[in-house]
Symmetry: C2
Subunit: 355 residues, 2 copies
């Protein structure tokens, strides 16, 4: 059951908040931009290839995230402040976004689609996902009055279902019946893979705990789907310019968090106090994952994102077996089987829908 540590540690540490912060705002890397700017949107030439590349990137980056967390834990306890790390991630994404935009301006000139300046009409919806996550993160402190940490990990899989339902309602995109079956299997498979002897506690969750878990799943799902709405609303708009504005709000929110939570620590010990080589690696990884999430939202959708991060969770556990000598549980193998078939059925269901 050792592989679950990867997941458990996320909830205590930097990654839990970070991964969620990636969902709402990020920007493109320099290398990706040249191919993206020629693709010209989700319906453009090479969009299938692009979709595959960003999905693969998200999967690999999410997998390596948890590995890095375990590695850094083994190297010793975190000494840095989580809020400054979050801010650094946002700052790095901002930098990469500007570098990418600069490259585009040099090759194509400044156009209506890739200019940095924006209208109130474009930018006014950008803080909404960030605010939804804020409410969700606040609720997170209260839910632990009703559920323990392993049960919370189990309940987080409700995000999969809420994302699917809200994707259907808000984006009005149809999933075939087989794809819905696949989505329920994805949720069941991920939960199975995380089963531990203490998982049954979740069944003793009081009604308040369930209510809060469902509200949190809906908030998280809505934030994800709403980000897709924002990004896809202007298909020809450069993704880096879109992310820049999403990300500005990310910086603002993290700045407030630093002031509220770690003002004294930052003042006394310095902003980068306790940073190590691995901390820098994690910030880099989180920034790139954030960029990948954003790319997936632009060129694929929330469903692909959910599959991608779920498969990443399983890959992480598989890799951990080799890297850290964790034992694979039967529950994990069964869950992985169910998730694999879910991925297969999702693609089969899509083909049948297109017929």
């Amino acid at each position: 059951m050792e592989h679950r540590r990867v997941k458990d540690q996320e909830s205590d540490d930097v990654s839990q908040k970070d991964i969620e912060s990636f969902d709402r705002r990020s920007l493109s890397s320099n290398t990706a931009t040249s191919s993206l700017s020629t693709a010209g949107g989700p319906k453009g030439k090479g969009s299938w290839k692009l979709k595959s590349v960003v999905t693969l990137a998200l999967t690999l980056l999410t997998s390596s995230q948890a590995i890095l967390i375990v590695w850094s834990k083994r190297a010793g306890k975190y000494e840095y402040s989580i809020t400054t790390a979050n801010f650094s991630v946002e700052a790095l994404k901002c930098l990469l976004s500007l570098v990418a935009l600069y490259g585009t301006w040099n090759s194509q000139g400044v156009t209506e689609d890739n200019r940095l300046t924006t209208s109130f009409d474009e930018v006014r919806v950008y803080p909404i996902p960030a605010m939804l996550y804020l409410v969700k993160n606040l609720l997170q402190y209260y839910i632990f009055a009703y559920v323990d940490a392993p049960a919370y990990q189990i309940l987080k899989n409700l995000n999969i279902i809420s994302t699917g339902v809200l994707y259907r309602i808000i984006l009005k995109k149809r999933l075939s019946e087989i794809q819905w079956a696949a989505f329920i299997l994805l949720c069941a498979g991920c939960t199975t893979a995380q089963l531990s002897p203490s998982s049954d506690h979740v069944l003793q969750t009081p009604i308040q705990g369930w209510a809060m878990a469902i509200v949190m799943a809906l908030l998280s799902g809505f934030a994800g789907v709403y980000t897709e709405v924002i990004i896809k609303k202007r298909p020809s708009r450069n993704i880096n310019a879109q992310n820049f504005w999403l990300y500005i709000f990310g910086m603002l929110f993290n700045l407030v968090a630093i002031c509220v939570q770690d003002f004294d620590a930052v003042m006394n010990k310095g902003f980068f106090h306790g940073y190590s080589f691995i901390t820098v690696l994690m910030i880099l990884n989180h920034a790139l994952s954030g960029i990948a999430v954003s790319m997936v939202m632009k060129y694929a959708d929330n469903i692909v994102k959910v599959y991608s991060t779920s498969v990443a969770m399983l890959l992480t556990a598989g890799i951990s077996v080799f890297l850290f000598g964790f034992h694979l549980s039967l529950a994990f193998l069964l869950g992985s089987t169910v998730v694999s078939i879910s991925v297969y059925l999702h693609s089969v269901g899509k083909l049948q829908q297109q017929k």
Copy 2:
């Protein structure tokens, strides 16, 4: 995890052997015969309705089997000999078979299809499934040198896969890709539903244990599929006459088992020593289940049988929660979800195959 007792007790007690003995031979009940004899085979009028009725009967009878076992265990330890109970089941099925045949003869007269006399060509293959089960049951004593009882329960789910593979190879019937996916899900779901804290032992099974488990699954699957071959080879032949002969070999094998295992006990204490009201109920239930398996083989197939008994396993656990106050585990709920979706996908896959 209490619901798993139902399954565990099967392996120690009468039902384990009995359930498997049902797979190979059984006969029709009196009431079912009148409708069966007019249906005239699997392609006849009303075959869909007939198929549903026998499938439902098998599911309900298999569910109540395990419930009866738990009930009888609660009432006290078994005092009767298992071999005489097995023989009684075969004898009861024989009686019901003859009564049903008598009814048919009275209404339709003795014909080529419903006469009791048989040819060597028809009867020579009938002992083959029984012999396969004998080899499998012998292997069962040796496999416990390599695996413990809970691990054996887990490994028994390999039967699902072996039945599917042999059904495809021997009966040359195609399953659609979605149906294969559903079949793997059925196996994963059943295993998940049976997960207990000690299930991970199965991963420490040595290579000999795996080899024997696979051979046993193949023997069991082959016996099931071969029974279907025998019964379906003569579609117009009366099922009761077919079962009579299959069942004659069942009686012979059980007579040998009595002589080898319980000869002294039967001689000293009598044949029906230790029988209670519940023992009689169990024998009746086992006889009717055997008849239902046989009907499913004639009018449906092994795939339907596997789904039927798997759903029965889940129903049993569900019913046990109400009857005996067992606790449902999260693993059971997840496994049930996966099995339910598997059943749905199997029917969707069939519809698409027919298009």
